[in-house]
């Protein structure tokens, strides 16, 4: 393709958009709706993922003692624990505290405990680990370390529920990808049809161009540029609308709850670039598909 054509193609695409403002407006509007659904889905998915990551970052660990530890021993252990990054002490539960809470849990069946001669429940120290700061190996590290101390009987932490949660998130991710793919195809379908409308409204022009000796490529390129511009505009409008909805939504939530308790994030910059690029690609591919159908006739 000769480079001298480029200004012509761009001029042509711009003129066509201007001359067919209404068709283009409808096209951009339809695309914006399709992209909006897609973008909103990604935003929701992103937030779900973000929340789950936040949750998954924290882990509770219980350190059980053989006997009620002395205050000094306990303070030493706490001091040592705090050397590790990402460790917070939730609190100490003495044997009595443990019995008290068990009684409370049993409610009216608490009488069962009366027969016990001595309190069998161990005292424990509850700590919270942040995986973010401490790293993934922190729980295991701490466990071996603490179990080395004489007075410590056992260290337990609940990895199980995290694993289960992660499994659920994996499933959500797969469902998300499938749904996202379907939405993407739906958007492509809608866009292909809108572009077909644009092309159809100019079939006379295409015919004449062909009859005076334009190559197929020459006829198609302005349409491809138009489609890409249309995709870009549709994608941009969708993102702007999504942002407005997001703003309205978070202020509403804040008003109802009274403070920003829910941490809802908007699409990060890379996602915005990616979605814009994708809308351009969808516009381009959409026009290629509809042109293909048109030129086969």
């Amino acid at each position: 393709m000769k480079i001298t054509f480029l200004p012509y193609f761009i001029r042509q695409a711009m003129a066509n958009i201007f001359n067919n403002r209404l068709v283009h407006l409808i096209g951009v509007g339809t695309m914006a709706i399709a992209f909006l659904i897609f973008d909103a889905f990604i935003l929701i998915f992103l937030n779900l993922n973000y929340w789950s990551e936040e949750r998954g970052k924290l882990l509770t660990m219980s350190v059980y003692f053989r006997e009620e530890p002395e205050r000094i021993v306990l303070e030493d252990i706490e001091k040592e624990l705090l050397y590790f990054p990402g460790v917070t002490i939730k609190g100490f539960i003495s044997k009595d505290d443990a019995m008290e809470s068990l009684r409370r849990q049993l409610g009216n069946k608490a009488g069962l405990l009366d027969g016990l001669r001595e309190n069998p429940l161990p005292a424990s120290l509850e700590i919270i680990l942040s995986r973010d700061k401490g790293g993934n190996s922190l729980p295991y590290q701490l466990k071996t370390r603490l179990e080395g101390i004489d007075i410590v009987d056992e260290v337990q932490y609940s990895e199980e529920w995290i694993e289960r949660f992660q499994a659920i998130m994996e499933a959500v991710k797969i469902i998300g990808m499938v749904l996202g793919g379907l939405l993407f195809l739906a958007a492509l379908f809608i866009i292909t049809n809108t572009i077909k409308l644009t092309i159809y409204s100019r079939r006379d022009e295409i015919e004449i161009l062909k009859l005076v000796g334009a190559t197929n490529r020459f006829v198609k390129i302005p349409f491809l540029i138009e489609g890409s511009i249309q995709g870009f505009l549709g994608g941009s409008v969708a993102l702007v609308i999504l942002f407005l909805i997001y703003m309205i939504f978070i202020t509403r939530v804040d008003l109802i709850i009274g403070f920003a308790s829910l941490d809802i994030i908007f699409l990060p910059a890379q996602f915005i670039y990616f979605l814009l690029l994708m809308s351009i690609i969808v516009g381009f591919v959409g026009s290629t598909i509809s042109l293909g159908r048109f030129f086969r006739v």
């Binding site: 000769k2 001298t4 001359n19 006379d204 022009e205 009859l211 005076v212 000796g213």
Partner: protein, 216 residues
């Protein structure tokens, strides 16, 4: 050079529009194709610039076999053929200048050259003051001349004119015919399709007559 060998053209199951048409037109010739309405004149021209493909038979134009022509080559062939369509085929939403410039833009000439050539050609056809007009604002004769301008701006080897004087008064008819003769003297092969016997009365040019799709 145009060579047609036993060309048939059928649209669906109707009576064929062309039946066993064989015809040779040499470089620089001037030929009239005539016959009553529906005889197949337009169809014959369409076969030549490959707007329609022959149902059977062979068509060769400027050495190219139209049965086997590829998109790119077809585009180049069409640049060697100027066509004045029976219904003009002007773009109503582009002005006269743009309509004529179209035929040059597709070949990739720079804008300055396109401007110069379009001005020249429009002046030649007496349309210099109509450049900014849109086709619906022009008379039938003026539209016909715009179509002619677009057909000749590329200096084609072949000019096909389908009823180029279709709805013109006698004066304008003479004027257009004079233009076609002038284009012919510059070395262009000219084929004029017309059902007007008037136009053929005094000519000594070659006349091909079609009737119900057959050459008679």
């Amino acid at each position: 050079m145009i060579q047609l060998f036993h060309v048939y053209k059928a649209f669906g199951s109707n009576n064929p529009a062309l039946i066993d048409v064989s015809l040779t037109v040499r470089k620089g010739e001037f030929v009239f194709i005539t016959g009553p309405s529906g005889a197949g004149k337009t169809t014959l021209l369409k076969i030549i610039f490959c707007a329609e493909r022959a149902t059977s038979g062979q068509a060769l134009v400027n050495g190219r076999n139209l049965n086997r022509i590829q998109d790119r080559e077809l585009a180049y062939l069409r640049r060697e053929i100027g066509v004045v369509f029976q219904d003009f085929k002007l773009l109503p939403r582009r002005n006269v200048f743009e309509n004529v410039a179209l035929a040059l833009e597709i070949t990739g000439f720079p804008l300055s050259v396109i401007r110069k050539r379009v001005h020249q050609t429009l002046r030649y056809l007496g349309l210099a003051n109509k450049e900014g007009y849109y086709p619906p604002q022009l008379s039938g004769g003026e539209q016909q001349r715009v179509a002619l301008a677009r057909a000749i701006i590329n200096n084609p080897l072949i000019l096909l004119a389908d009823e180029p004087t279709g709805n013109l008064d006698p004066d304008l008819t003479m004027e257009i015919m004079a233009l076609l003769r002038e284009i012919h003297t510059r070395g262009t092969m000219v084929i004029v399709a017309t059902h007007s016997q008037e136009l053929l009365r005094d000519t000594r040019r070659r006349i091909v007559t079609l009737n119900k799709g057959r050459i008679v």
